[in-house]
């Protein structure tokens, strides 16, 4: 199967017209010794029927995809209205590129403007960009931005931030002259210990926290903002479960300076980790320090409203090595999916989905807490994820739960921290029925002894 709209005769004719003897001669500018004499060692072309069969066979070995699941930890199973995929599949959206020519890209531009507005509303911030690759890279970029704004080099990161996000931040800053200091979390509440910011001082650029954090616990963002601001540092808040924004006080209202989030929860399939979409929002006064694309309102000479890419002088194609980021491509189509999701669910739908997540998760937590030998180690409030401490090794318990009961019951924390072999992270969303929750509870009860 291939997609080349010229016949061999037409190609021969074109060659003749441009005065080139053969196809091979098109490549005369490549030294002969560099040209492949044989074909590539990749398989021969497959038909549509063969291809689909091949992928379906591979897919069948993803046993997890068909199970009841309680997996969270940065990627969440939420209900996606049918029209999301339908609308993003329109050619006009998915086969267009970056809106460099505003006159014929208004569909994309207006959608991004709506996206930026929705992100501001949800995060409680003044401005938002047109998206980042994902939550983890957005958080790393926020750290770099804090250094640019404050011209300070120390950044304190809560160790209750998603461990992979922390790893990404470490990679990004390793040559930027920024030192990351990890702040411990409280073994009782599961939240960042505000009193133990021993490293916090006037050389601190920012404090970075996640709320709800990796353990599902809600951080006291307002108190953290106060601590950061007391030394002139910024507060960066990361959200991995964006659905929590439907219920929890916005980071903006709590005093955050930069809010980043993973918005996969808003209408984006799990798809084994990507593509997802990072949100990036901040205060008006930092507009010229924000990374990535921005869309703004503009008018033509007849006074018609339209939208354009704006404040482009921040970006790499103009400022090159002095740009606010090296990012070029954002996550356009996924941002569009999130926009359509948020508009379809709307104000009340996002609230209702968030309410159901919280209620169902708390039901599950209550039930699990009654099981013999099982406990919930953290007493801090949570949204829809929580840590369970099992009487047996969590990873083998979860393996057996999957094999024997067909349930992916959570994520063993030993995958991230080898000493936490009994703990696992459970996530409940509006897609989990009471029946599924009861099966989970009965399942771990029967296997956990």
């Amino acid at each position: 199967m291939r997609y080349i709209p010229n016949s061999p005769d037409e190609r021969a004719d074109m060659l003749k017209q441009i005065g080139v003897a053969s196809i091979e001669n098109l490549f005369d500018s490549i030294p002969k010794e560099l040209r492949l004499s044989d074909h590539l060692n990749v398989p021969a072309a497959m038909s549509e029927l063969e291809l689909l069969k091949r992928f379906r066979e591979m897919g069948a070995r993803n046993k997890s995809a068909r199970r009841i699941n309680f997996l969270g930890g940065g990627a969440y199973s939420h209900y996606v209205p049918t029209i999301v995929d339908h609308l993003i599949s329109r050619s006009e959206f998915f086969t267009a590129y970056t809106p460099y020519q505003p006159e014929i890209s208004q569909g994309t531009l207006q959608s991004i403007f709506e996206f930026q507005t929705l992100v501001c509303q949800l995060t409680g911030m003044d401005i938002a960009n047109a998206s980042m690759y994902d939550g983890s890279t957005a958080m790393a970029e926020a750290v770099l931005m804090a250094e640019r704004i404050t011209k300070r080099s120390k950044v304190i990161v809560s160790s209750a931030v998603h461990p992979q996000y922390l790893e990404v931040a470490q990679t990004y800053v390793q040559h930027a002259g920024i030192n990351l200091h990890e702040a411990p979390y409280c073994a009782e509440f599961g939240t960042t210990l505000t009193d133990s910011f021993s490293a916090l001082d006037e050389s601190t650029a920012a404090i970075v926290v996640q709320s709800p954090n990796f353990f599902g616990c809600i951080e006291d963002v307002a108190a953290l903002a106060e601590r950061a601001h007391s030394v002139g540092a910024l507060l960066i808040v990361t959200v991995t479960e964006a659905m929590s924004l439907g219920l929890l006080k916005s980071p903006g209202a709590c005093g955050a300076d930069i809010v980043v989030a993973e918005a996969q929860s808003f209408g984006v399939p799990l798809s084994f980790g990507g593509p997802y979409v990072g949100l990036f929002a901040t205060r008006d006064k930092y507009a010229r320090q924000i990374p990535g694309r921005l869309v703004g309102e503009a008018y033509d000479k007849n006074g018609r409203r339209g939208f354009v890419l704006t404040l482009a002088t921040r970006e790499q194609h103009i400022r090159r090595e002095k740009a606010t980021s090296n990012i070029c491509t954002n996550e356009g189509l996924i941002a569009l999916a999130a926009t359509i999701y948020l508009e379809t669910m709307g104000r009340r739908g996002v609230q209702e989905a968030a309410r159901q997540c919280a209620q169902k998760a708390h039901y599950a937590a209550r039930e699990i807490a009654t099981l013999d030998g099982f406990s919930l180690p953290y007493s801090g409030p949570f949204f829809n994820e929580f840590i369970v401490r099992a009487p047996v090794e969590a990873s083998s318990l979860l393996d057996r739960l999957a094999q024997e009961k067909g349930i992916d019951g959570g994520i063993a924390l030993s995958r991230f921290e080898s000493t936490r072999e009994y703990d696992f992270l459970v996530c409940v969303t509006e897609t989990n029925t009471r029946e599924q929750i009861d099966l989970l509870v009965a399942g771990i009860d029967s296997l956990g002894h």
Partner: protein, 130 residues
């Protein structure tokens, strides 16, 4: 043809200097604003900052370009034109008057003598565009 007032001193980076006692008023030339196109943002230092001659003290942005601006003289910034925050277009409309950028207290008033005169600057821009 760009406007080049006689009473000013000019740098090869297209800044102008008006001397007023030991104060230098600095902006960018008509030629420079014309090359840049519509100015949309001017980034200026704070009063009190010190610069040596030829230091970058800020930048001027058009829709699709950024240019650094350099101080032709050494000294301390005493005042900046904050009205450019709201009306950066003044740099286009009136580069030598309302579009001024900073005032500096000069450390060495003699430095202006090494700058270009209006006639020299005109020759310089002509040569540069050829």
């Amino acid at each position: 043809m760009a406007n080049v007032p006689d009473n000013l001193h000019y740098s090869k980076d297209h800044e102008w200097v008006r001397v007023d006692g030991d104060t230098a008023v600095i902006g960018i030339t008509d030629h420079a604003q014309d090359q840049l196109g519509d100015v949309v943002y001017v980034e200026l230092p704070k009063a009190g900052e010190e610069f040596a001659a030829n230091d970058s003290f800020g930048s001027v942005e058009s829709v699709k370009a950024v240019s650094e601006i350099f101080t032709p003289v050494t000294g301390k910034v005493t005042e900046t034109n904050d009205s450019l925050n709201d009306e950066p277009e003044k740099v286009n409309k009136d580069p030598y008057d309302e579009g001024w950028m900073i005032k500096m207290k000069m450390r060495n008033a003699g430095e202006v003598d090494s700058l270009l005169t209006a006639a020299e600057y005109e020759d310089f821009t002509k040569a540069e565009s050829e």
